[in-house]
């Protein structure tokens, strides 16, 4: 396995990029609010990977700490978001975000 | 005290503001009380006035106190304009012989105007608020000794007048109101320019600051020699005099700036006509006497002849136009133009007799024309028309009215024994004594005849003879077998009622009394007039060389 380069920064960045892209794709295309939330979680995870990767290869603790806070934030976000989704569901009897376009008027 | 006289109507206006608009009677009474209180104050001022003090310029100590009376002086607006120096405007009021009679006249006419306004039914509250504002502004104009203050009052006056004509006027009121407004505004714009020019040309003799004080401006030694309107700047002084003169002449109104007057009068309600003719027109000539002439004496001297010619045109032209009028109120309006011509002629004479005549004529014209307009209003209230042909033989049916009309008409045509005569006589005496205006006076005398002609002719057509076929009233035989007249929708008394008598009788008494013994008014004028003539005279001498 010589031809394989040792695991370095770029590997992690590549994974995070793929996760980010998938998360964005979910946010862009899926109508289901829950799935969108999942996309957001993917994006956050991608970001975390980046933080930790840079932290590791740079030797500082900032990235680690930041990723910790991101997780806390993600938890809070998820809780609020789900509460919102449930409310939306109560109002519109649907979690289809494309049908919720009352702001257009 | 003077401030109280000026601001009493405004206070009344504020009180009225608090009264609900349905309480019409209270509003009227408040106005009347304010006007009466103002009248009482004016009488007190008249009693306390010392005719020996001349006014016009500052007294010997350089302050206005030794010369003017009832002076009140407070710093009002003081702005530091950096490199332009500082702007000092004072609340500076006081009276001298020129203004004291006008103050009394204004108080009198205001009170009579309130009585005359009793019949106004439309938006009483708004009407009286505007009326009181107007009364205050007029009074303020006469007592202001600071040019800026004068200008402020002058402009304040315009606004209520515009609305009073434009809202409470006749069918063509908007046109008349806008004409009046534009005309007068046109005049006052130039006044503003001259005022600013004067400000930068005059130094207060005491503080050595630039000043708006008319008292300081009236002394030529206070002018900065090379300032824009300083003595060296002859051309600009002429221009300033002319534009200022036009501004005042519009108010007089002098031919050819007079055409707003007939329209305004015809459209204005009776009390506003009374105010307009009784007081407002005087502001034009008062402004000339107070501002135009003493500030530019040498220009005045050069233009005496021209002013005299315009005066003569006013007299004769106004009389002829009055002769041709079919509307009684329009005729009276033109007679105003004619009579104000006498004032101009008297001023143009530039001597004591002429100036006394002019000032006295201002007072008398105020009372007499007020009477004329009130009388026109009386018949208009009843018959709803002012066409002279629509009447005839009224003297038989309304004897009291006819009697007062006769007095007023004869006063207007200058019958001796009534006040108008003395002023006209003095105007002619002065104008003839002055070499400059001698020939103008000789031509103007024709005005006496034509004045008599249009007044007597209208008197005959309306009051003498018998009812015309198309008259504005019907005849019916009363229970006592006599003929009475009947106006179509008039419920009140056919002849004058108590309120109308209360307006007219004081004026009649004043007219007769001042015709027999004019000294109560002339006595207040003389020292100021003589001083004014003196202010104008030295320049006359030097310019002759």
């Amino acid at each position: 396995m010589e031809h394989l380069a040792p695991i370095g920064l770029n590997h992690y960045l590549t994974i995070s990029a793929i996760l980010l892209g998938l998360g964005l794709f979910a946010v862009m295309t899926r109508k289901n609010a829950i799935v969108i939330l999942m996309g957001v979680e993917l994006i956050l995870n991608a970001a975390n990977i980046n933080f930790l990767a840079f932290s590791k290869y740079n030797g500082g603790m900032e990235g680690v700490m930041f990723s910790l806070f991101v997780i806390v934030l993600a938890a809070a976000e998820a809780a609020i978001a789900l509460a919102v989704v449930i409310n939306i569901y109560k109002l519109f009897k649907s979690v289809d975000v494309s049908s919720i376009d009352t702001m257009k008027e | 005290m003077l401030s109280l006289i000026v601001f009493l109507p405004i206070i009344a206006g504020l009180v009225i503001l608090a009264v609900p608009s349905s309480q019409k009677q209270i509003i009227r009474i408040v106005s009347l009380l304010a006007a009466l209180a103002q009248g009482v104050l004016a009488v007190l001022m008249w009693r306390g006035y010392n005719p020996a003090l001349p006014g016009i310029t500052a007294g010997a100590n350089g302050s206005a106190l030794g010369s003017f009376q009832f002076v009140e002086k407070l710093p009002w607006i003081s702005l530091n304009l950096g490199s332009f120096g500082s702007l000092n405007i004072e609340y500076f009021i006081g009276v001298d012989g020129l203004s004291v009679t006008m103050v009394i006249l204004t108080a009198l006419i205001s009170a009579i105007g309130v009585l005359s306004s009793w019949t106004i039914q439309k938006q009483v509250k708004g009407y009286f608020i505007l009326y009181n504002l107007l009364a205050s502004a007029m009074m303020g104009c006469f007592v202001a000794l600071d040019f800026f203050l004068f200008y402020v009052f002058w402009e304040i006056m315009l606004l209520p007048m515009y609305f009073l004509i434009g809202i409470w006027g006749g069918p063509n009121r908007e046109y008349a109101a806008i004409k009046f407004f534009l005309y007068t505004l046109f005049g006052s714009v130039f006044m503003l320019l001259v005022m600013i020019g004067l400000y930068f040309s005059v130094l207060d003799p005491v503080t050595h600051n630039h000043t708006f004080s008319l008292v300081a401006m009236a002394s030529q030694e206070n002018y900065i020699k090379d300032a824009i309107l300083g003595p060296d700047n002859v051309m600009w002084r002429y221009i300033a005099f002319i534009v200022l003169f036009i501004g005042f002449a519009i108010k007089v109104p002098m031919f050819p700036f007079h055409t707003w007057l007939p329209d305004a009068h015809v459209e204005a309600p009776t009390p506003i006509s009374v105010i307009l003719a009784g007081v407002l027109l005087k502001l034009g000539t008062y402004g000339m006497l107070r501002i135009n002439f003493p500030l530019f004496p040498e220009v005045f001297h050069a233009s005496m002849y021209v002013i005299g010619i315009f005066g003569a045109i006013n007299i004769i032209y106004g009389a002829f136009c009055a002769l041709a009028q079919k509307d009684l109120k329009k005729m009276v309006a033109y007679s105003s133009i004619s009579h104000m011509g006498y004032v101009l002629l008297g001023l143009a004479a530039g001597n004591s007799e002429g100036m006394t005549g002019a000032l006295y004529q201002m007072f008398n014209h105020g009372t007499i024309t007020a009477m004329l307009f009130l009388l026109v209003g009386v018949i208009y209230d009843r018959a709803h028309t002012r066409q002279i042909e629509k009447f005839g033989g009224l003297a038989s049916y309304m004897p009291v009215y006819a009697g007062i009309v006769t007095v007023a008409w004869f006063a207007s045509l200058g019958l001796p024994g009534l006040s108008g005569f003395i002023s006209e006589a003095f105007v002619f005496v002065g104008a003839f004594s002055s070499v400059t205006t001698r020939y103008i006076a000789m031509v103007s005398v024709l005005g006496i005849v034509f004045g008599a002609a249009y007044l007597l002719w209208s008197l005959q057509r309306m009051f003498l003879g018998k009812r015309r076929a198309d008259a504005a009233y019907d005849l019916e035989i009363g229970e006592d077998g006599h003929e009475h007249i009947h106006f179509h929708d008039w419920k009140g008394k056919i002849d004058l009622d108590g309120r109308e008598l209360a307006m007219l009788v004081p004026l009649v008494i004043i007219t007769i009394f001042l015709g027999i013994y004019p000294m109560p008014v002339i006595g207040m004028l003389t020292s100021s007039i003589n001083k004014l003539v003196q202010v104008l005279t030295p320049v006359v001498l030097t310019s002759m060389n």
């Binding site: 396995m1 794709f25 997780i71 | -």
Partner: protein, 172 residues
Amino acid sequence: MSNLTYTAIFYLFAAITVFSAVYVVFSRRVIYSAFALLFTFFGVAALYVFLSADFIAVTQVVVYVGGILVLLLFGVMFTHSIMTTDLKSDVLHIIPGTLLLLAMIGTMLYTFYTTHGWMPSTTMLQGSVVERIGFETMSRFVLPFEMSSILLLAALIGAAFLARFDKPGNNE
């Protein structure tokens, strides 16, 4: 642990992460997405371990798997007639989405691989950082730490408030 093994394990977890994430995104059923997400989180947690952040990895598992994912599942079950959801009726902007997906990933990868300044530092993190996290949390990052606790509290209350069924303003 040999280098090869290390690399192999890395690729394994990377593959798990990526493919489960793909499944999350492209699954036509939400419930499947949710379970796929579980694997993604695990994969990511594993990657954290590779990055010397064992504490973060544990936190990731505890919070995401134990908290967020359960929450998501609750949400799915609250709101959905789960079985009827279908991918085809469930998507929009499929073409721009796809193009952008590729474009974003491409751009980023291009950026990463053309950037040469990212040389590893001599003081790379080695081993566990739990102790250092403790130090940092109580010293440099004490304020953000406390703030995050307040944020959590607020979010907790807010979520509870929002999700209440019988709110006064909710029944119109």
